[in-house]
């Protein structure tokens, strides 16, 4: 009998798909699954592409950074796991050539370097790019060294006790850009030559890095194995910590994607809920017949349960395929920006479709399905048998399903919970408001045209239906408005965080008398000189009168900060790009001793406002309390300082100056160096370009995804409208049978829909306004004003979208003879 029920479910599914009974539900599921799958596919591919791109900046997937060479056990383990590995060692050392000595950062790399990304070098044969490392006996140097020492390719260079041939100029090394303020020239040599230089001695300040790359799962398992056994002074680096500006871009992109995913999940759920409701209410009678013919309640539930299961699997598989197609099209359209090398989606992304269809059905079809068990056989004789009470199971199950699905989509449970509770609150508010408005329509005798009166009465006559429709509509409209209007605000704000005129050059070591020369050089190209900021090296010696020791801290960064000098500056007015998060900036012209600290530094050193700090600057003690903490945008490419003092107090101190600017033309930096020979100019345009490219690509991908969700939203909205078509069709048939003209019928229908769309649109507008503000402030740390235009826009969008969605219905109404509809009921 069980088997029969399953077979009947399958048979029913085939029939109903053919006859169109399941069209709305199947379409709603298909659209939902396709939207979710394409988002999943796209996100998955972009994510792995980004991770790959990001690993290029690290030259590996994972780096083990230690003070001693990598232990043999680590390397054996990596090899056993099929991971590729390359050891590197970096340390500062003097480079001797042409009877000069210059301090450089040496990096010894083994062959196979880099594991991710490519090096770009210029040899005598020309420029080449790929996986290259210096051959034994050869070194490569960057432009800074070549320029400083006047070297040419082929020259001899001595490192320690060994001579090398300068074989190439390094144009780009993937992991070379990790430190933006890396002013010291760089030299690359082969790892095998390291011992021969004699530079590796006990106490040498050498950083050993073991670069590791391979299959993502293997890398993760390696990381999990290694992390617990690392000693102090050894740390793991991955892309998340390699580049803060790239990390913040990735983070924001993930959140944008999560937002689209949540919206598509919500849209789909609303449509599926409505479609299931419609389908089952139309099959009430069939269930009663089966019960009368002797099917038991569990058998009946199995018939329809299996039908939904089959449908879920079918829609899941087809939707996943459609989603893949949509995503492939998207990638094709965006290939110019995304490149051809997007990795294929992982197998988990393929599961998204079928699984989400089943979860959606479980959440939204199961409760009414279980209610089918309570359909009395008596209903074959009388149509007015009560259907049994509503239970709380439905919304609860739906909520759990939504939460699970969403958390799974964005891989961030708390964020999903946060957004869903917001959504839940919105739905509750909409439900209450809609209920109130419907009641009002019921009570208040409306005067005016017959259409408006009947339209309003139609809504009031079925309050539950009206509330459900308004809620579904407002969620859909909310999604549409968020996607169209709020999206622009958000993405725009994000892109503006790195403006087109962001500085691409740093100038350091400018002496005070040279500031006039600097102004002149800029004036020659018709530009005003950038603000030159004083900078001096300072060492923190005491906190609240107690000497500072590295041993007081376990954090490696804190230890580094208290044992090394770092840059300190002074100024009068606050930097508008810095945000004061605690305390107050001093009055202009203040001579009171005090410090303003960067928030991150304060956290690392466990300092707070009110602490008294003592700095040693060139042998002089400077003691003052901390009066403010600042938040600094490190990705702004502007000079920033950990510690700032008032000019009135510290201004007389000897200092060199630093400035950042955007070079007006290609030769400008060279001319500047010629005019001011002692200054160092650092060109960071490559890094700025790289970060901008990352942001632009992400923004494009996200916009493409928004467009997709938007399309899904329109389709799902249509499905939601179709779900209540029967009720309307019947009403209209009755009106026409009673002698209403087509024009009257149309006006009744349009009025009802206008009420519906208007009310839903108004609420959606308010919701989108609040959501946009919340998301901007809470999730993206972006400032955003309330956009009041969303309210009228929402009403307009609601009215038009509903009218558009109802167009097929209006047509059908005027073309279906009323007798047909009435007889069918």
């Amino acid at each position: 009998m069980r088997r029969l029920s399953w077979l009947m479910g399958w048979r029913l599914l085939r029939r109903e798909l053919k006859s169109g009974e399941l069209t709305v539900l199947a379409l709603a599921l298909l659209v939902a699954v396709a939207a979710m799958s394409s988002v999943a596919f796209f996100a998955d591919r972009i994510d792995s592409a980004l991770t790959r791109q990001a690993s290029q900046l690290l030259a590996a997937d994972l780096v083990v950074n230690s003070r001693a060479p990598a232990e043999a056990a680590w390397q054996q383990r990596a090899q056993a796991q099929g991971l590729r590995q390359v050891p590197t060692a970096t340390f500062p050392s003097m480079v001797f050539a042409r009877e000069q000595a210059v301090l450089a950062n040496l990096k010894a790399v083994a062959s196979g370097y880099p594991l991710r990304g490519e090096v770009q070098i210029r040899t005598r044969q020309g420029v080449k790019q790929g996986t290259y490392s210096p051959a034994p006996g050869e070194v490569w140097a960057d432009a800074r060294l070549l320029q400083k020492m006047g070297l040419q390719l082929g020259d001899s260079v001595r490192l320690g006790s060994r001579n090398f041939v300068l074989a190439a100029e390094v144009l780009r090394e993937p992991d070379g850009a990790v430190d933006v303020f890396n002013f010291i020239p760089r030299v690359l040599l082969n790892h095998a030559d390291l011992a021969a230089t004699g530079l590796v001695q006990d106490g040498s300040r050498i950083r050993y890095r073991l670069l590791v790359a391979g299959d993502a799962a293997q890398v993760k398992s390696y990381r999990d194995w290694l992390a617990p056994q690392l000693k102090p002074g050894t740390r793991l680096e991955d892309i998340e910590e390699a580049r803060p500006e790239v990390r913040s871009a990735l983070e924001r992109a993930r959140r944008f994607l999560g937002l689209t995913a949540i919206l598509s999940v919500t849209l789909s759920a609303a449509a599926v809920a409505l479609a299931v409701r419609r389908y089952l209410s139309r099959h009430w009678q069939s269930v009663a017949v089966l019960r009368a013919l002797g099917q038991t309640a569990p058998e009946v539930a199995t018939v329809w349960g299996s039908l939904f299961l089959w449908l879920g699997l079918l829609a899941g598989v087809l939707g996943a395929l459609a989603g893949y197609g949509v995503q492939a099209l998207l990638v094709y359209l965006a290939r110019q920006w995304l490149g051809d090398g997007l990795p294929p989606p992982g197998w988990l992304a393929w599961l998204t479709g079928p699984l989400s269809a089943l979860i959606l059905l479980a959440g939204f079809a199961l409760p009414p399905l279980l209610a089918l068990r309570r359909v009395p056989a008596m209903a074959v004789l009388r149509a007015d048998v009560p259907a049994g009470s509503r239970s709380l199971l439905a919304p609860l199950l739906a909520l759990v399903a939504l939460l699970g699905l969403t958390a799974w989509q964005i891989g961030d449970g708390p964020l999903a919970l946060w957004l869903l509770s917001g959504l839940g609150g919105f739905l509750a508010a909409v439900g209450l408001l809609a209920w109130g408005i419907v009641l009002l329509l019921h009570r208040v005798p409306l005067s005016g045209a017959v259409g408006w009166r009947h339209g309003a009465a139609n809504l009031a006559r079925r309050p539950w239906l009206a509330v459900i429709q308004i809620a579904a509509l407002s969620v859909s409209l909310l999604a549409l408005l968020t996607l169209t209007v709020v999206r622009d605000d958000l993405i725009g704000a994000w892109q503006r965080s790195l403006p087109p005129d962001a500085p691409d050059s740093f100038l350091i070591n400018l002496q005070p008398p040279q500031r006039a020369e600097l102004t002149q050089t800029f004036a020659k190209v018709g530009r005003s000189a950038p603000e030159a900021l004083p900078m001096t090296r300072a060492r923190l010696t005491e906190i609240n009168g107690k000497p500072v020791k590295a041993a007081d801290y376990t954090d490696e960064r804190a230890q580094r900060l208290v044992t090394h000098e770092f840059n300190l500056s002074w100024r009068d007015a606050a930097n508008p790009r810095n945000q004061i998060v605690a305390g107050q900036w001093w009055q202009p012209g203040s001579r009171t001793p005090q410090f303003s600290l960067e928030e991150g530094l304060a956290n690392t050193l466990r300092l707070k406002q009110g602490d008294t700090l003592t700095f040693d600057i060139a042998g002089t003690r400077w003691q003052a309390p901390v009066t403010s903490l600042r938040k600094v945008a490190w990705d702004s490419f502007q000079p920033n300082f950990f510690v700032i003092a008032p000019s009135g107090w510290m201004g007389g101190q000897a200092a060199s100056y630093i400035a950042s600017y955007r070079a007006p033309d290609a030769g400008f930096n060279n001319r500047l160096v010629a005019a001011l020979p002692n200054v160092t100019v650092v060109d960071i345009s490559a890094i700025v370009r790289e970060v901008r490219a990352v942001i632009d690509r992400l923004a494009l991908a996200i916009e493409a995804m928004f467009a997709l969700t938007l399309a899904a939203g329109v389709l799902v909205l249509w499905a939601a409208m179709a779900a209540t078509r029967d009720e309307r069709l019947y009403d209209v048939a009755l009106l026409r049978a009673l002698g209403a003209s087509r024009r009257q019928v149309r006006s009744v229908l349009l009025a009802e829909l206008a009420w519906l769309g208007g009310v839903a649109g108004l609420m959606a507008g308010g919701g989108a306004m609040a959501l946009g503000a919340l998301v901007a402030v809470q999730l993206f740390n972006l400032p955003l004003a309330l956009n009041l235009w969303l309210l009228p826009l929402g009403m307009l969008a609601g009215g038009s979208v509903v009218a558009l969605a109802a167009w097929p219905l209006l047509r059908r109404v005027t073309h279906t003879p009323p007798s047909e509809v009435l007889r069918a009921n």
Binding site: M1, L4, M8, R11, L12, R15, E16, S19, E21, Q285, S286, A288, V289, L290, R291, A292, L293, G294, Q295, T296, A297, P298, P376, A377, M378, V380, L381, R382
Partner: protein, 231 residues
């Protein structure tokens, strides 16, 4: 009512009462109704609209439960069975013909007739159903869906579905109520023919006294009170 007819009764109702609560008041739709139907016997229940005919039918067929009293179907007291138990009993013993046909709209004529056979686990469901449709004159419309059949044809399918298992008892609820007189007449002829062939007991609910007169016994339901009337 003779003692032999009571013993061999396929259906027996004893003092069946049905009350509903309406605005806090108890209304009796059925009051102390008793009847017996012997195997193969045909019984008509007549009454005006609203007299409680459908309620009585529902209780006799186990579709609804009585407030008090007892119904024995094929010797089994219905009050001792739960809804699923009654469903299984219906599956084995009962056939239905409804005023509004109640065919499954998503199934073809053949599949509608196969339904009770399949529910009973019959392996030859397809052949038996096809033969039955042949018998009611629809051998050429096996694969048609209900919406493509006329009212008379739909009721023939319903008759085929009702008789295909040769049930011990058939309930017919106004079987001609939705049909024109000529078609209704044909359906009635067919109903009685099939009834005779299968040896099925028939409980016919109708307001048509001429139709009722064709049954062996007639009960009249007036405002919830059932009385044995003239044949």
């Amino acid at each position: 009512m003779t003692s032999s007819s009571v013993n061999s009764a396929i259906l027996r109702a004893q003092a069946v009462t049905r009350q509903v609560s309406y605005h806090g008041q108890q209304l009796a739709i059925l009051h102390d109704a008793s009847l017996a139907v012997a195997a193969g016997e045909s019984v008509a229940i007549v009454g005006a609209s609203g007299s409680g005919k459908s309620t009585l039918l529902a209780i006799l067929a186990g579709l609804d439960a009585a407030s008090s009293g007892e119904v024995w179907l094929a010797g089994q007291p219905l009050s001792a069975l739960d809804e699923d138990g009654r469903a299984l009993l219906r599956r084995e013993q009962v056939g239905f013909v409804f005023q509004n046909f109640q065919l499954m709209p998503q199934f073809t004529a053949l599949e509608n007739v196969m339904l009770p056979l399949e529910l009973a686990g019959r392996a030859d469901a397809r052949n038996a159903a096809a033969a039955m449709l042949q018998r009611v004159g629809l051998g050429h419309r096996l694969d048609h869906y209900p919406r493509h059949l006329s009212g008379g044809e739909q009721q023939r399918v319903a008759l085929a579905r009702a008789f295909v298992l040769r049930p011990a008892l058939l309930f017919a609820d106004e079987p001609t109520g939705n049909l024109d007189p000529a078609t209704g007449q044909q359906i009635i002829e067919l109903l009685f023919e099939l009834n005779a062939e299968a040896g099925t007991a028939l409980v016919l609910v109708t307001h048509d006294t001429t139709l009722a007169a064709r049954c062996a016994a007639v009960y009249r339901l007036t405002a919830g009170v059932l009385a044995r009337g003239e044949a």
